[in-house]
Every structure is written in C-alpha cells, then in structure tokens.
Symmetry: C2
Subunit: 238 residues, 2 copies
C-alpha cells in the first residue's frame, strides 16, 4: 500500500524544483525499471504490483494495486512498477571520441531521443547548457527507454566549458560544410542548438567548423534537432 | 462567423471515416496554410481571424473570432487560420530515384516526420500499405509542416505493388548489411516496417537486400522508425 504522504511526495517530483530539493526522480514502466535494476543508479523506493514483484523477486518493493499506481504515475496508462531513484553526482566521463554538446535544447522528447541515439552510436558524454531541459523530467526519462543510465550527462556554463576544450568543435548550422564531405577527427565536440533559435552567438564563437546536412529537396527550412543529431552521429560515429 | 452545422462538420473530419466520406481534410496554422496556398491543393472553406485575412488578402475567407476558431481546432492552442481542403486523387509520380515504402507505420508523428524528411532529401514518392496511418490525420498533417503538399503518396496492397517493381528493393532490418558499406543504385525502393513488428513476412519475400544502421553502442535494441528513415535517406539520397 501507499500512504497519502508518499503520494504527495512522488507527485511532487514531477516538478524540477522538488527533484532538485530532494535529489530524486521517477522511473516508470517495466522496460525502464529493468534497465534501472541493471545500472549503478540507487533505488530509494519502488512501488509495484503483486505480479511484478513475483516475476522480479525484488524483495524491498512496496506492493500496490493498479489503482494506487495510477495515482502516482505520470504515464497515460500506469504500468506495473514505479521507482523513486536518487539523482547521481554528475560526472565527466572519458573525453575520448565524440562529445555531444546541447545549447538550450528545450523539448523533453527531443532530449530523450538524443540520449537514446547517443547510446546507440556509442557516445558516452553529453554536455548540456544550464537552460537545456532537465534530464530527470519524466518525459525525458520515459523517452530514453533506459539509455539515460548509460550516458554521462552534465550541465555546465557552456562558454566556460568550451573555452577549455582542446578538440575541434563542430556546430550544426543550416549553412555549413556538407557532413558527407568531411573526414572528421575521432575526438571532437559537436554542438546542437535550440529548436527555435539554433546555436547562440556566445557559443558560436568557439566553433571551429560549421557543418550541415545536405538539403537536397530545398523546400523545407529546418530539421528537427533530434533527427539532425541522429544523422550527424551516424555520420561521425558509425 | 461560423454556424453550428459547420462546427459539427469540421469536428467530424477528425475521424477518418468522415474524411473518406467527404473527401476533405483539415489544415491548420499559419505556416501550414501558407504552404497550402502555394500548392495545387484545392481549398473548400477557410476560417480565419480578421488579422490573418488582412495580412493575407484572401477574400474568400470566413472571418471568425479566436474563440470560434478554438471550437473547430485540433491544436492545443488554436492558431489564426483553419482550412477545409479537398483530398486530391492519389497519383503515382516519377519512378526515378528512391521510392520509400511504408509497411504499416502506425504513429501519426512518425509518418509526419517521415514525409517531412522525404521532402528534405528530395524523395518524391511514398507508397504506403493499406494499414499505414492516414496521411490526412490531423497530427500527420500538422507534423509535416507543409511537406505533405510536395510529396506524392499512395496507399496500395504492398504485395501486389512489389511484385511488379523492377528496381532493387532494400528493407531496413536490425540485422543486415551496414548502410555505410553499400553503394546503392540511384533507383531503388526502400521499405520501412511497423514500429513494433518491423517488416511483415509477406513483404519481406520481395526484398533483395536487407540493410541496417550500425549499432555502435550495442545496448539499445531498436531505433525509432522516423529516425531510422532519416538516417537511411541521408545515406542514400544526400
């Protein structure tokens, strides 16, 4: 069962200010929780149906009904399990290979897809501007489908960070060198900009090469940032 | 102004059965309607705010208030203009270049992104299985952001269609030849499968080459079909 205070606490974690205060976030659904159990992330509390507990032999679970789960879930249809998870300390992983830099990516679905694509293409480190959407936002967590637990992500002041970088810094623009004609170095930073405004002026100063995806048709003016990131990672990491 | 019957009629077009019966669909929002006005699609009725009508000097518009527009809109926040548009006859365009084939793509957002990416990469023809989501679904129309008016799309029985194809037929699979190592012909068919089940067995028989996107990280089991399509079109068309 679940108490009123627990419900209030868990629902409160939908807000970033509460996640920051409590240093916790929510992971829901069987697939994501299975990936969570395989990760080094620390579970504080776990609420699950009798069936899930039996199938997963997780002894510390709080058994709840489907109706109780629906009261704490952020999903349209609540799944069989929900975990309260401790936010780990940010870490800077290996600086080998491509490091992805996000300059104010705002949409949770886009960030989730980007994290998933980093996991697919073996990118181990994402560096986000302070105004990039929170990775512990429930929509981001959900759309990463477990990839969140395998990619190191940190939030920094980008200008301070980029000033110290000693690899080539590529930036995605509507006008730039066609990525198909570039032989990229193995160790690079790649910057993707905000959905509406692209890469900011202050960040642009640090870019050593502007790159672009060939607009073959010539009719559409922009690409979704998650799709563009996916194509660039395929080109540079695959 | 707008009558109760008009409201009922327009709201009814949210359902496919009514779109099929009336042979009409809805286009909303300034960007999409601007693209519509530039296309050969035939507008049957157009509802817009005083400001939009003044700015666009479109004389046949029905002037409505923002509140009236909200009553007929499918958008979370209604925009300044909504058009009722005649569904054109399906046409088979040029068979040159890459022709994209969709085998039961179900998600409107995915189909919208795919149509947009075809427009970006200069793909002129999409061939959909009968069970692929309707291109005149409001979420599809919205997410194509006007690209719908520039790509020829038809719904066919795929097995009958593929039996007559005389180009190489590529299909996207989790296991296949790495697309980075393929020199594709200019004229090919490329088949993408359903979100959950991939390409069906009956369709698979017609595929001459299975292709795949290199899973560098090796941790994630699947790619979103719109993202995978984007990467493949970049590789084959750019």
């Amino acid at each position: 069962m679940i108490t009123k205070n627990q419900i209030k606490y868990i629902r409160g974690l939908a807000l970033k200010k509460n996640r920051v205060k409590e240093q916790c976030f929510i992971v829901e659904g069987e697939k994501s929780v299975a990936e969570l159990l395989n990760s080094s992330f620390q579970i504080i509390d776990l609420f699950a149906t009798k069936q899930w507990i039996a199938e997963n032999s997780y002894e510390k679970a709080n058994e709840v009904t489907v109706a109780e789960l629906a009261r704490i879930s952020n999903l349209k249809s609540a799944n069989n399990v929900l975990a309260v998870v401790s936010i780990p300390e940010e870490k800077q992983g290996s600086s080998d290979g491509l490091i992805l830099v996000l300059d104010d990516v705002n949409d949770p679905g886009n960030l989730g897809t980007i994290i998933r694509m980093c996991d697919w293409f073996g990118v181990r480190q994402i560096v986000c501007s302070k105004n990039t959407v929170d990775i512990y936002n429930s929509k981001v967590v959900q759309s990463t489908m477990g990839s969140l637990f395998r990619v190191d992500i940190m939030y920094v002041d980008l200008v301070t960070y980029l000033a110290k970088v000693n690899t080539p810094i590529y930036g995605a623009f509507m006008e730039g060198e066609n990525i198909k004609s570039i032989s990229a170095s193995k160790n690079i930073h790649l910057i993707m900009g905000n959905e509406a405004n692209g890469i900011s002026k202050e960040v642009e100063k640090y870019i050593s090469k502007k790159v672009t995806i060939n607009n073959v048709g010539g009719n559409t003016e922009s690409l979704n940032v998650a799709v563009a990131t996916s194509i660039l990672l395929h080109e540079f990491c695959s």
